[in-house]
């Protein structure tokens, strides 16, 4: 239990998927201009990442390992993630329309969010057990959401500031992200 807690903390803060492992940056910059979209994206990532983390673990353990075809990991994981996203989208549309209207437009974007694929690959590389993989996926997703929402808050303010023309938009966004990354670096050594 204590180990799982330590794992979760280190996945949220120390090895923050965005700011320390550099994964999922395209949607990070794309959806952080407004707080509303940032929250939507964060929720969608949490939702999909946990399911993808569990599913890819099962595929790897019971399909790829038993058949001894672990070199097909990349192909099978991306197919699992893509079809999972599609399935979640259809399911939400039919059964929970309220949630769908909130997350809907972010779901297709998640297929190419390398955070999802990245976490699946990290889980395999670290040799996590099923429970650990789920906890790690959830914690990584929380870390992603945390960074995204923090960043969106700052970005909304930057809109009001007078930024030199060549630095506008993505450029200043990346520099801001760099400064947030510095603050996250200070979590190192916590565990």
């Amino acid at each position: 239990m204590e180990d799982l807690f330590v794992l979760a903390i280190s996945c949220i803060f120390i090895n923050n998927i965005l700011l320390a492992q550099y994964l999922g940056n395209c949607p990070f910059l794309g959806t952080s201009k407004k707080m509303e979209t940032a929250i939507g994206m964060a929720m969608a990532v949490i939702f999909v990442l946990v399911m993808a983390g569990g599913l890819t673990w099962i595929v790897n353990e019971y399909l790829l390992k038993t058949l001894d075809v672990e070199y097909l990991q990349t192909v099978s994981f991306i197919l699992v993630i893509a079809s999972l996203v599609q399935f979640v989208e259809m399911f939400l549309k039919k059964s929970i329309p309220a949630l769908y209207s909130g997350l809907g437009i972010f779901l297709p974007l998640i297929t190419t969010n390398c955070a999802v694929m990245g976490v699946a690959l990290i889980n395999m590389k670290e040799g996590y057990s099923f429970l650990e993989a789920i906890v790690a996926s959830f914690a990584y997703a929380i870390g992603y959401g945390l960074a995204l929402i923090l960043f969106a808050g700052i970005r909304e303010r930057i809109l009001l500031a007078r930024v030199p023309k060549p630095l506008q938009d993505t450029s200043i966004g990346l520099i801001t992200a760099g400064i947030i990354a510095i603050t996250f670096m200070s979590f190192k050594g916590m565990v």
């Binding site: 075809v69 070199y71 097909l72 192909v75 197919l79 670290e126 190192k188 050594g189």
Partner: protein
């Protein structure tokens, strides 16, 4: 309906071709990959551990099974005639896994030496564990009964200053090596010539 069928057919054919192609590339590169792993990851460490080896530990390697995991064992003969083996274990450092090649004397159960093989630690800080062998050479000559942990954790190893996590990771790998060795020694002795 026709559209449905064409969708299924196209996807099935595509994945089948993909699987077949990958299997072919995999079997074509398998031997080369294994050699590359040996050459770049394990050979340099083994050479440093057993500088006077009269045999070729890489060529005489064998595997020992512990449950599902296979351990690659590299046997050699030390200058004094006693037999020794080396194998690689892993611990978690500051930025990811740290590989440690540990050499153990089969007669005295003492550590012959240890070398870091792979790591992704910060250059100039944790990376010193590999670049500057003073830290890992502390293991040389130690009995397996010693406590492989850094002094602040109550062990017998001086950590690298500024790189506590790397030092701890290396110690974890060393403890794993001790455990594996104790467990698999009978099996290793059976297979060794």
């Amino acid at each position: 309906m026709r559209e449905m069928i064409s969708m299924i057919v196209v996807l099935t054919v595509l994945t089948a071709v993909s699987g077949g192609l990958l299997a072919a590339v995999k079997s074509g590169t398998e031997v080369r990959i294994e050699n590359q792993v040996l050459k770049f990851q394990k050979a340099p460490a083994i050479k440093e551990l057993f500088p006077k080896a009269t045999n070729n530990p890489l060529a005489e390697r064998f595997t020992v099974k512990d449950g599902k995991t296979e351990w690659q064992i590299f046997p050699t003969k030390l200058p004094d005639g006693s037999k020794a083996i080396a194998f690689e274990t892993h611990g978690i450092g500051f930025a990811g896994p740290v590989g440690l090649m540990v050499g153990i004397n089969l007669k005295t159960d003492h550590i012959v030496g240890a070398r870091v093989t792979t790591h992704s630690e910060t250059p100039g800080v944790g990376a010193r564990a590999k670049d500057d062998p003073t830290f890992v050479s502390q293991f040389a000559g130690m009995s397996l009964d010693k406590k492989f942990a850094i002094k602040s954790d109550g062990g017998d190893i001086d950590g690298i200053s500024g790189a506590t996590f790397t030092s701890k990771g290396v110690c974890v790998a060393a403890r794993q090596a001790k455990e594996i060795y104790r467990k698999l020694k009978p099996e290793i002795l059976k297979q060794i010539k």
